[in-house]
């Protein structure tokens, strides 16, 4: 089979990171095409179950992107997300997942370049740690 490429699922809040991703595109900042975004109104909408679900379905990396602290369109959704994410990360690492496989970052709507850079970097990180052990496909090497 062809070379393994990480499958990366991104939950992006509509007000900041989703806009940042749009901006990256309109300025033609490139990042790996294996990064796919699910649009959510706020990182506060992201249930820990979604991240677990993505991983159990074989995603190699899961990324949650929201507004910078203090900039949340819904005042404090990103703080709620941060708390949940910290706890979830402890659970995941306890289960044997590499801590780097899940990541949360604040990327504003004007940080198109930063979005592209972080995606490229996250992709490299996942390439380094290898496929999700839950993957059962032939690509997973």
């Amino acid at each position: 089979m062809s070379e393994w490429k990480p499958n990366i699922v991104v939950f992006a809040c509509d007000w900041c990171t989703y806009q940042g991703a749009d901006l990256a595109g309109s300025l033609r900042y490139e990042y790996p095409a294996n990064v796919n975004i699910i649009r959510v109104p706020c990182t506060g909408r992201v249930e820990p179950e979604f991240i677990v679900s993505a991983l159990s379905n074989g995603a190699d990396g899961v990324f949650v992107g929201g507004c910078h602290p203090g900039d949340c369109h819904y005042k404090e959704g990103n703080y709620k997300a941060m708390r949940r994410f910290t706890l979830l990360k402890m659970v995941l690492t306890g289960m044997g997942f590499e801590a780097e496989r899940v990541r949360m970052e604040w990327i504003s709507g004007s940080e198109g370049k930063r979005f592209a850079e972080i995606m490229a970097e996250f992709n490299r990180t996942i390439e380094k740690i290898g496929p999700n052990p839950f993957r059962r496909d032939s690509n997973a090497g």
Partner: protein, 677 residues
């Protein structure tokens, strides 16, 4: 049964140039629930939208996926198409295969195509689970708030007020007028700034529909389009503005001198002051930080009685105030007063601040003869510290040579990368004013290049050249202080290809235009983010230049980026008409993408209640059991409660757990994970 129609947009070459549409089409056709797949050059065009409508009307599709650009700009368009076709408008999902597809991966055609397939698959999976929703309407409070009373804010306020709406015009300074009030003349017509601005200030001050809230700041903003609840902090003036007539006698007798902000730190004002002679409203303010409480007359204390005469000992300012507006016995609250307003829309026009000279160590900022262009503006102005007589600050002699330096802090990666846009023209204007007043003065302008794009600007530039103003193309490396208060400008002349040196009496720095201080914090209060340069961000540079990410809040003038007076006013008037639309309609649509509690599943645990940032969730009793309940009018649709509910009893319409799970499964399809659900 879902019958999903997938519509693939080529967006000319924008998408089709990187994404193999035929391949995506074939892939989409085999997805579960997909009934029709079509592609077209521009789906958002009339014939493109007709494809969707015809398929709906022919009964071929009952759900729609449009794979095109970003839903942030085009979702409303396609929702309307779907509605016009006869379906509920929320039965429409977009796959962002342009902004987050072909544009980002324009060199990786294979990757862009594979990604487009996945994004379509994800959108199809979500579309199959979409539910019809009904729009909500809210009534609009027919009033508007304008923040910032510079030229942009004043014009926005005037337009709204002339349309018949109540306008609250807020400014942090005691007077309206903003930066334009500081200018001497304005390019390209050399109108006297005061002559064209002060009548507008008076109109704003006397308009029956405008309520001025000067010396005030926005403390908090809650609510949303139609019904913003705003708290304004009126700072303490320590003078009764209801009775103060602005006569200025208190100022005459005040002994304490303070650097004059209106004159950009040159000259002094008193601790009790009126911002400038043409101020509107013309009212005195006690600067609490500098007032020395003459005669131990601390604000809010009773005067002591004179030991001999038995008369109360008063401070000079209150002694001369015949009408008692300046009464220091009143126990004023140093925090001022909090005013609560309800408005339907908000226009933000807080303008700019010109950079200070101190960060530019290479240009000898310690020398009084190195001034910023805004300081020079005050030196040229009849209302300035020299009453318009240009003198160099160190010894008040007439400068024989004046050198201007452009792009100080602009187009400079150490400070601001952007062009401040107005500097080229105002330097030419100032040079011209100097030449016209004193034709013998040698005037040199050091430019990186002259940017004179604008109506009548190039002609203005040519005229200045003809006046004998010397334009040197090259960057200035340093300004050194010499004996006799003179300055040496060291630069590189690009045209001569050599280093040049010039001795000058006065050096003018065209410092960059920056966002007004505190803009980031104000943006936070309003829920609008700043761009990388610190100015407030519009929704779309070209299509929606005055709209912000928050519906009902609009921006105008330099708060959005550097611009000149004609542009600021144009934008202000655009913003005022945009802000008037909801007021005129009287009610606005609010998307029904909010959370709802299924009380059958709710266990009454109450976890959601304290999490809601809007206090929209409360406990109630159903039968004899505690249950959570969401107030529809307050819910903003963030989904924080939805994500937290341990019983999954809360549904966020438009972003349900089932829909997002379906997207996750679609995006991870074919890689053989162990699905846990």
């Amino acid at each position: 049964m879902p019958k999903i129609g997938v519509y693939l947009c080529h967006c000319g070459e924008n998408i089709a140039g990187a994404v193999n549409i035929e391949e995506v089409k074939k892939h989409a056709a085999n997805l579960p629930g997909v009934a029709v797949v079509r592609d077209y050059l521009f789906i958002c065009s009339d014939p493109g939208q007709d494809l969707i409508k015809q398929d709906i009307q022919a009964g071929l599709v009952n759900r729609v996926v449009v794979a095109a650009c970003t839903p942030r700009t085009h979702e409303p368009i396609f929702r309307k198409t779907v509605q016009d076709g006869g379906l509920n408008k929320y039965i429409c999902e977009m796959a962002n295969i342009r902004d987050q597809g072909s544009w980002a991966h324009w060199r990786d055609k294979e990757g862009a195509t594979e990604k487009a397939k996945k994004l379509v698959m994800s959108a199809v999976a979500k579309a199959a689970l979409l539910e019809p929703l009904e729009d909500r309407f809210v009534n609009v409070t027919k009033a508007s708030l304008v923040v910032g009373a510079g030229v942009a804010g004043m014009f926005a306020a005037m337009d709204l007020a002339n349309m018949g709406y109540k306008v609250y015009l807020v400014d942090r300074n005691p007077s309206v007028g903003g930066n334009m009030a500081k200018l001497d003349k304005t390019f390209p017509t050399n109108d006297c700034s005061a002559c064209i601005l002060t009548p507008v200030m008076v109109q704003v001050g006397t308009h029956p529909n405008i309520e001025l809230l000067t010396y005030s700041e926005v403390e908090s903003v809650d609510g949303s389009i139609g019904n913003f609840k705003v708290k304004i902090r009126k700072k303490q003036t320590y003078v009764d503005w209801n009775t103060c007539t602005g006569c200025g006698e208190c100022i005459e007798v005040c002994p304490k001198k303070v650097p004059n902000e209106f004159n950009e730190g040159m000259g002094t004002r008193k601790a009790i002051y009126i911002e400038f002679p043409q101020a509107v409203p013309k009212k005195a303010v006690v600067d609490g930080a500098h007032c020395i409480n003459c005669g131990k007359r601390t604000i809010g204390t009773k005067p002591r009685l004179h030991s001999k005469t038995g008369e109360p000992v008063l401070a000079p300012c209150e002694k001369v105030c015949k009408i008692g507006a300046c009464d220091r016995s009143v126990a004023y609250d140093p925090d001022g007063e909090l005013v609560e307003l309800e408005v339907g829309t908000i226009v933000v026009a807080t303008g700019f601040k010109a950079m200070d000279k101190t960060p530019f160590k290479e240009y000898s900022p310690q020398s009084p003869n190195v001034v910023t262009a805004l300081q020079l503006e005050r030196l040229l102005s009849a209302t300035g510290p020299t009453e318009g007589d240009l003198k160099r600050p160190s010894d008040e002699t007439k400068p024989e040579t004046v050198a201007f330096i452009s792009c100080v802090g602009s187009r400079d990666k150490n400070h601001h990368t952007y062009c401040s846009k107005v500097c080229c023209m105002y330097m030419l204007k100032q040079a011209r004013l100097i030449k016209e007043k004193n034709p013998g003065t040698n005037v040199f302008i050091f430019f990186i290049d002259v940017r004179a794009g604008g109506k009548d600007f190039e002609e203005y530039y040519s005229y200045c050249r003809d006046l004998g103003i010397r334009v040197i193309r090259g960057r200035v490396g340093a300004v050194d202080e010499l004996a006799g208060d003179r300055l040496r400008v060291r630069a590189y002349d690009v045209d001569m290809g050599s280093a040049v040196e010039l001795e000058s009496d006065l050096v003018v720095l065209a410092t960059a235009i920056e966002p007004a201080p505190g803009l980031e914090e104000l943006g936070r209060r309003l829920g609008i983010s700043c761009g990388a340069e610190g100015f407030l961000k519009e929704v779309h540079t070209k299509l929606y230049p005055v709209e912000t990410a928050v519906r009902g809040i609009y921006i105008a003038g330099c708060v959005q980026g550097p611009k000149d007076i004609p542009d600021s006013i144009s934008q202000a008037r655009a913003a005022s008409s945009a802000a008037a639309v909801p007021l005129t309609l009287g009610k606005v649509v609010v998307e029904p993408l909010i959370s709802e509690i299924n009380q059958e599943n709710c266990s009454g645990c109450g976890i959601c209640v304290p999490l809601c940032p809007y206090s929209a969730v409360a406990m109630t009793t159903v039968g004899d059991k505690p249950r959570a309940k969401i107030d529809e009018a307050l819910c903003a649709g963030c989904g924080v409660c939805t994500a937290a509910c341990p019983s999954r009893a809360i549904k966020l319409h438009g972003f349900t757990a089932e829909q997002i799970e379906a997207q996750i499964i679609a995006l991870t399809a074919g890689i053989g994970g162990v699905s846990y659900v």
